[in-house]
Symmetry: C2
Subunit: 201 residues, 2 copies
């Protein structure tokens, strides 16, 4: 007997497929109308249902956002895992990391709104979804440790700088690279600062 056999298995698989299909349609609609513009009636019709039927797959609209939120952080983690850390070129490594983050944000405005802004009135990630984001954050800290960024306040400064570049890029020049092209300069500025402080103290 296989581990996936047994009663209820067929139904569970169908359920999972339908859930995935709903989430996929949700991303599509959010990309078009903004993350807060999602309508359950329209989402349902997109997958051939009526709105109340969605409640057999998700407890609420907030639960849908929850799954999308967690998925976003899983995607971000995947991208960060692909980044190569070169201890001999901290500036280059950091610049690439910043650029990758900005690209990640620009690739999906809806995803950016969901993950990093409070664009959905009344919604905030559940503790389960929030845990995924915290885990992603903690995993992203580790590579920078190897570059000599070991103090919390140094990492906070980097977080502010990176997120600031990304949010300015998206808000004021969504189709250009006015802030993205500052990645290398920002990395140089930041690494110089951290290095000098380490020598001085």
């Amino acid at each position: 007997m296989t581990a996936t056999a047994g009663p209820g298995n067929i139904r569970e698989r169908r359920r999972g497929q339908t859930r995935a299909e709903i989430l996929q349609a949700a991303w599509r609609l959010c990309e078009r109308d903004g993350i807060a513009g999602l309508s359950l009636r329209e989402l349902a019709s997109e997958v051939g249902m009526r709105a109340p039927s969605l409640y057999t797959y998700f407890a609420s609209k907030a639960a849908i956002y929850d799954e999308m939120f967690a998925a976003g952080y899983r995607e971000l983690e995947a991208i960060e895992a692909d980044l190569e850390v070169d201890p001999d070129d901290p500036v280059g490594t950091l610049a690439a990391s910043i650029e990758a983050f900005i690209d990640f944000c620009c690739a999906s405005v809806a995803r950016f709104q969901l993950m990093f802004t409070r664009a959905i009135p009344g919604w905030e990630p559940s503790s389960e979804a929030y845990a995924v984001s915290v885990a992603s954050y903690e995993r992203s800290v580790e590579p920078f440790m190897r570059l000599g960024i070991d103090e919390q306040r140094h990492f906070d400064l980097l977080t502010a700088l990176t997120s600031g570049l990304a949010s300015q890029q998206l808000a004021n020049d969504p189709d250009g690279d006015r802030w993205r092209r500052l990645s290398r300069e920002a990395a140089e500025m930041y690494m110089t600062h951290v290095t000098h402080e380490r020598k001085g103290s």
Copy 2:
């Protein structure tokens, strides 16, 4: 005859007062429920009316947000006008400016959401309100010119850094100072970078 006399004047004054009263109540409710949580029925009841009566004073809910948005930038401009520029202490001047901006943002979460995030689904400032924000931005550039920040990309970098610090502060430590206390460090980092680049080029 005075300049304010004549027919229609009493009405205009009453109208202006009522408008101001409505806006005041709107800020109060937004502070409580978030900028996107504003309900016209509740706002109306707060000033002793029913929802449709608000349309006598504002063309739409978006128009109310518009006035609040412009008012926010006028307040920011007032704060920036009070900042003293000391050409002999660029780092101190910059640090004070960053701190003042963070304080401004923390003083009213609703105002921050309205001015700097897209927290209201489907709303964006009208061209009139947007013009106020652009004027405020341009006026804020001038003092930094005197500190030697004269290139657009240098100013863009500063914008990203400042807004990044503020947004991280509000999102992750709204009642503390985890990012606010990095203002001086950020100012040093930034000024060192700009100065060195000017010498090098």
